[in-house]
């Protein structure tokens, strides 16, 4: 059976003619950072924050502990591309070419069917936003991050840049210098948002960097599920996506953050995501990586108070010319905290998946529990899987468990399903979908169906 490459099947790889109304020239300098701030008409503190971050970015070297990033050329990227002159809350008012893109991606349809609110970002800025009225009345805020800086300056300043400070890593510094777009979500005390909110991120311009910044504050006893998806056209030149996500999970609050990452495979996807979790709060990252050229992403949770809980459910599909370096990080700082990091990765057609995870348990994290499990499945002999689980535990009175399996798809499993009439390809897909079941069962049904369809498209016979 002929091998179809990932590229041939990436149906989100179409590009639209450039409609941007402004873009900074390629490369990055203090001047460009100032220009972005100026164009956004920002307060002085944000301009200073950006310039300070730029200095940190310039001073830090690229990380060398993970995937080789030497081909990522910071000089060959546009750091800001403005798609339209204003944002809209009505699809009819969105510029036609941009709207056509989102129509093709099925976004307005999805909004009607399954989401309580939706945001759509095109290159550097959010061009559409909506939220159901009843949620607005309850005091829920869901808007683009730039808009929130203007509309809620005090709230913004209180929370912004505290969980992931610019000095955290080179890409967090870069994002802090040139951030644009992203979602700002505020859920008041005891408000439960029953239906997920969604944001869709689209890169259209070539050699572009997208640096959205997402900030979620879930007040005591509140509940929210946020879901993000993304895609980009296929270009021969590299693009860069480097987001920062900060989440506050307060006492008894519950947050789920679901990502279905499906960038085209010319995109470097280097993202920092972290949550602070207070007493009895619960944070769940469901992190799916299907696309991109290189992904490095380890959603993390700092369990700051008694009973705080973190779950990371990660899945990755590494196909031809792709490296998926993903996992999670749990920091236990208080007693009775619990964490689990579960990863399912699949590699095929020469792709490489890497599981990287760290659990730290501090001296006073008594009676805390952590569980790490990674399963890696290789669909052929050319593909690779590596796992780097690690634990740093300074408290004796804890329970830490770890399981790992790395294996090729079972010949006897294939034979069994084929003896029931399934072709080799159908059998492979069934095994893969079963392998992913612990993850897909946690995604809203409509999304799980879409995800299965996506996976079925990507996984071909061999």
């Amino acid at each position: 059976m002929a091998i179809k490459t990932y590229k041939e099947d990436y149906r989100y790889g179409f590009s639209m003619p450039d409609v941007s109304i402004y873009r900074t020239p390629k490369g990055l300098s203090e001047k460009i950072v100032e220009k972005i701030s100026y164009l956004k008409n920002e307060p002085a503190w944000m301009r200073k924050f950006r310039l300070k971050s730029y200095k940190i970015f310039s001073a830090k070297k690229k990380p060398t502990w993970g995937v080789n990033l030497s081909n990522l050329d910071f000089k060959d990227i546009h750091y800001f591309v403005r798609p339209a002159d204003k944002q809209s809350n009505n699809w009819h008012n969105v510029p036609k070419r941009i709207k056509d893109t989102f129509d093709k991606l099925g976004i307005p349809e999805a909004e009607k069917k399954i989401f309580a609110g939706i945001g759509a970002q095109y290159d550097s800025e959010v061009i559409y936003h909506s939220l159901k009225q009843d949620l607005e009345k309850k005091g829920v805020i869901f808007m683009d991050t730039d808009g929130a800086l203007k509309k809620y300056p005090d709230l913004f300043k209180e929370y912004f840049g505290k969980i992931v400070p610019p000095g955290d890593n080179k890409f967090a510094a870069l994002n802090s210098a040139v951030w644009s777009g992203g979602s700002f979500i505020y859920v008041p005390k005891n408000v439960s948002v029953e239906i997920p909110l969604q944001a869709y991120f689209r890169i259209n311009a070539q050699s572009m960097g997208q640096f959205e910044r997402t900030l979620i504050v879930a007040e005591e006893g509140s509940n929210i599920h946020y879901l993000e998806a993304c895609s980009a056209p296929l270009y021969t030149k590299n693009s860069l996506h480097s987001a920062v996500v900060e989440i506050y999970v307060k006492k008894n609050a519950k947050v789920q953050y679901t990502t279905i990452q499906n960038w085209s495979n010319n995109v470097y996807n280097l993202v920092t995501k972290r949550a602070f979790v207070k007493e009895e709060g619960s944070m769940r990252w469901l992190d799916g990586n299907i696309g991109s050229k290189v992904t490095m992403k380890y959603p993390s949770g700092v369990l700051q108070e008694k009973g705080a809980k973190l779950e990371v459910l990660s899945f990755a599909l590494a196909s031809k010319n792709q490296i998926q370096d993903a996992g999670g990080k749990a920091i236990h700082l208080a007693p009775y905290t619990s964490s689990s990091i579960i990863s399912k990765s699949i590699s095929q057609n020469g792709g490489k998946s890497i599981f990287r995870a760290l659990t730290k348990m501090a001296k006073n994290a008594k009676k805390s529990k952590t569980h790490m499990r990674c399963d890696a499945l290789m669909l052929d002999d050319n593909s690779k899987a590596e796992t780097f689980p690690s634990f740093q535990i300074d408290e004796n009175d804890v329970v830490a468990t770890h399981e790992a399996t790395v294996g090729k798809i079972g010949r006897e499993q294939l034979f069994y399903l084929m003896s029931r009439g399934l072709t080799e390809e159908e059998a492979t897909k069934m095994i893969v979908s079963g392998f992913l079941e612990p993850i897909t069962k946690e995604i809203p049904l409509e999304y799980a169906v879409e995800l299965n369809r996506l996976m079925n498209m990507e996984i071909k016979g061999f």
């Binding site: 069994y416 003896s419 069934m430 979908s433 079963g434 992913l436």
Partner: protein
């Protein structure tokens, strides 16, 4: 004339350099039940796997014909879709694959009738078949062969048979690990299936107990890769008395 279902002619099967099955001849006609008996390691299971087209086995000589077609070169899934079914002795488990979902897919692929697998495999029809086998109805939502006991695995194989209704059924040690009550349920369901569909059976066993419930038309004795004797069902009584040594 009764139609030929499976015809094996002068078959030699091996794995790598090794020859496991030596020059076997076998004819199973429509609606017949054949028993294949023999000691452990005689090559009985290998014959079942060879008929199903296991990729690790290669045919060195001879041919396997199904409904008068040579199937030597057919892939496993093609054979399944032609109507051959192998009930495994030790079926592998599939975490995350629900039994119901699996059965629907399989029925869709193998059914010779143009039926809609979703209506043919409703939860209700499945539950009624589970009852026939004295199985708990929560099985519908369990993962295929995952965490099943030995008895549950055998029953799950038979359940698939009842739904898929194949024409040639190979049962590999279906009786092992089943208590007498379970064996009764399983063989009763198989007998009913046989009456309804007139399927042919190749029953592989080293235990003649199952013959009390499922009556063979022919009995074959296999030792060291060869069929050394074929006769009517009386041969079973002989084996019970004298063993495989003095035939």
């Amino acid at each position: 004339m009764t139609k030929s279902m499976l015809k094996i002619r002068n078959l030699e099967v091996g794995s790598g350099q090794k020859t496991i099955i030596k020059k076997i001849n076998l004819l199973i006609k429509k609606g017949e039940i054949h028993f294949l008996l023999g000691p452990n390691g005689a090559g009985k299971s290998t014959l079942g796997l060879a008929i199903m087209g296991h990729p690790d086995l290669n045919i060195k000589q001879g041919e396997i014909r199904f409904k008068n077609k040579n199937i030597n070169k057919k892939t496993t899934d093609e054979r399944a879709r032609m109507g051959i079914f192998l009930a495994f002795q030790q079926p592998v488990g599939f975490e995350g694959v629900k039994l119901l979902e699996f059965l629907r897919t399989s029925l869709n692929k193998t059914s010779l009738l143009k039926i809609d697998a979703h209506t043919a495999t409703t939860r209700e029809t499945l539950v009624s078949n589970l009852t026939k086998l004295d199985m708990d109805k929560e099985f519908v939502d369990r993962f295929l062969n995952w965490g099943f006991s030995g008895g549950e695995k055998r029953k799950s194989e038979v359940l698939q048979l009842l739904i898929l209704k194949p024409q040639l059924i190979i049962l590999d040690e279906i009786d092992s690990g089943l208590d007498i009550d379970s064996l009764r349920y399983v063989t009763r369901a198989l007998s009913r299936l046989k009456r309804e569909s007139n399927a042919s059976f190749l029953v592989i066993t080293h235990h003649s107990r199952i013959a009390q419930f499922l009556k063979p038309d022919f009995v074959h004795i296999m030792t060291q890769g060869e069929i050394i004797k074929s006769a009517g069902k009386k041969l079973i009584g002989h084996i019970e008395k004298y063993g495989y040594k003095n035939i």
